[in-house]
Symmetry: C2
Subunit: 413 residues, 2 copies
């Protein structure tokens, strides 16, 4: 029998009624002769509550104990979910991460999955049971409980789908799929039917917060078909999959905007070997996550170097750079905390030209100044003023007709 993994996020299991709704989804898949494996997150705001309880006792709680505490939220959901299924006449059994040997490294609060013992799950599926797995958690080699960090339950679901050879991993959430652009800003954004892992990774890391990067990476590495869909509606959502030829006909699949960003520019950096390495080693030591790096030579000896980061990392980044001024010998430092990054993403860019042109033209027409530009193989990003961010997204989305479904856009490019 084909195995299907269904993952339900916190809002989809927030109360008894929602758990019952989710259980009906599961039952319906089971009725269609699927072996169903369910992954669930903690109910509603349970995790936030537990974190608040912890901080009340210790503003800096030991990470091992934090993992031990937070893992209980997901365990509660899956046992309650199993009870709901039992009440509907289905045989169901729930497991903690430890019980199915979801082995991780020992990096508490952000552990990485090393292996899964799928035997126990297969055994119960073979007995026609619905198997429920607490998301977000694992154990290390010494049986300490670990958690996988943000988006951890998505990662659990995709990893299980890979380990079990599932035909599909359904991610049930409160949106009905992935949109070409944020519909709160670009109201006529279209829902995508398909998106490639690489595009989704660019979109996810750029702030389109439906799926966490790590889960998508897992899906890409193990070729898991991921279906993002609504827990409220029956219609199909968006499939995240490997590249298919029809995707290449579309130049731009989606556009994103990332606010709460900052930029540091170093003017007149001594252009000697090892300087850039020294700067970024220092930033890494200060735990600053650098987004984009731009460097331009201004003379044979001097270069201008700038980089962007989340705004919360700005102060530590600034200190880190000032600390090594003597070594690096730059002329001056400037800081911007009022920027946003607008990007277009699409694997079709690899084979089409004119994308940058069209993007810059659209921004120019909307009288939006471009501070700086970075690109990857399937992405072009422009830094713009923060107060023009929404307008920039709309201008770019309109220029690439992101209000139309992908198949209509193919003809036009």
């Amino acid at each position: 029998m084909a195995i299907i993994v269904q993952k339900f996020g916190g809002t989809s299991v927030a109360d008894a009624e929602k758990i019952r709704q989710a259980a009906k989804r599961v039952a319906s898949a089971a009725d269609k002769s699927h072996n169903v494996v369910v992954v669930a997150s903690a109910r509603g705001r349970q995790t936030d509550k537990l974190i608040a309880d912890a901080l009340e006792l210790n503003p800096n709680p030991p990470e091992r104990e934090m993992d031990q505490l937070l893992s209980t939220g997901e365990i509660q959901t899956v046992s309650l979910f199993a009870m709901a299924l039992a009440a509907m006449g289905y045989e169901a059994i729930s497991f903690t991460g430890g019980q199915i040997r979801m082995l991780t490294d020992s990096a508490h609060t952000k552990a990485r999955i090393k292996s899964i013992d799928s035997q126990r799950i297969h055994k119960h599926l073979a007995q026609n049971k619905i198997v429920l797995i607490a998301g977000f958690q694992g154990i290390d080699e010494n049986e300490n409980i670990t958690t996988l960090g943000r988006g951890g339950s998505d990662t659990t679901a995709v990893a299980l789908a890979a380990a079990l050879g599932a035909v599909e991993c359904e991610i049930y959430t409160d949106v009905d799929g992935i949109y070409t652009a944020d519909p709160r800003i670009f109201k006529t954004a279209a829902k995508m039917e398909l998106i490639s892992y690489d595009e989704m990774l660019e979109m996810a890391s750029l702030g389109a917060g439906v799926m966490h990067t790590r889960a998508v990476e897992f899906g890409k590495n193990y070729d898991v078909k991921i279906h993002v869909r609504s827990s409220m509606a029956e219609n199909k959502g968006t499939i995240i999959t490997h590249e298919v030829s029809q995707m290449e006909g579309v130049v731009v699949s989606g556009a994103t905007v990332q606010k709460d960003m900052a930029k540091i520019g170093l003017v007149g950096v001594d252009n000697k070997p090892g300087n850039a390495a020294r700067i970024f080693a220092n930033l890494a030591a200060a735990k600053v996550v650098v987004n984009d790096i731009m460097q331009t030579e201004v003379s044979a000896e001097k270069a201008n170097l700038s980089f962007t980061m989340g705004i919360s990392d700005l102060q530590p980044a600034k200190k880190a750079v000032e600390r090594i001024k003597a070594d690096i010998d730059y002329d001056k430092i400037f800081v911007r905390d009022d920027i946003a990054e607008v990007s277009v993403v699409g694997i079709g860019m690899r084979t089409h030209y004119g994308v940058a042109d069209r993007m810059f033209g659209a921004l120019a027409k909307a009288r939006i100044n471009i501070d700086s530009i970075t690109t990857s193989e399937i992405r072009i990003s422009c830094i713009v003023d923060k107060d023009q961010a929404d307008e920039a997204l709309r201008a770019v989305s309109t220029a690439f007709e992101l209000d139309k479904p992908a198949h209509e856009r193919i003809k036009n490019t």
Copy 2:
């Protein structure tokens, strides 16, 4: 270093402030060069909340899933407790029942402990850490989570004290010890300094709800010194221990009253071999817990048989007995649901006489009618009218001077 086990019940860890108070107790024991092992229950009404959540989804939830669900309450407490200790500068580490291999049978919701792997605990104690263990839970051979039933955390604590060779198992609770009688009824009841396991077992099963029977049995079997004391006050509580000679000088250690009882009498039972066995096999099959059994011969062929039970078992018991009327051939059945049982308990009864006399005299003087009488080696119980139950306890308590401490009563008997 001497090991001490400290157990904190739900009310003693109900909120952050109470957890901090409990942590101070633990820290104070650690400062006195003890290796401290802490066992804790779920916070306040957490378990009740989880049960309500479960029943909302399934009025008859599968027991395995119920155990999986309820085990999370205790895990939350011990991880939070460890954080509180860390905030005070103490190294602490928490474990689930599974993590320390608290192996039980597979009788979900009422599992029995088979073994404990104390190595992991000893290892961390040797590193001078405070070790916290989630109470009430274990795992079976297949790593299913089990729970130990009512009073389970007490059992966890006493079992750990036995396995680790602890010098004492302290049970912190909201009362400051065990009293000669329920102080809500007999206001001048005295707190006991010492009580033997056997007396405590009689008292516990008769409704003096401080300690659960199973934990006391464990203590008796492994000779664990149990100290029941208040989490609010510094003074000593009551020590439950093996018999010491001074106990024998006291005829009656305590008195109890058990309400919510019922009695079924079978008049004119055919007195042939196997009839009693058949009756009680039928009651066991109906899951009726029988308290006391009284039988008297009324002729060579006929006997009167009666037995008591909790009032919630009355209807199933009545049905079970009526079902086999043809086999047993009794004349008639009568039922009382308005009774209570008043008992006096004391190991001194073994060597003293006149106890029954004094008890019956006290009841007669208070104009309380005795329906029936049962005795064990260290207990005398009288069934009385329920509406005279409190008065009966007071009369008996006064007769045996239970308002005085034990050492004063020794002289008087």
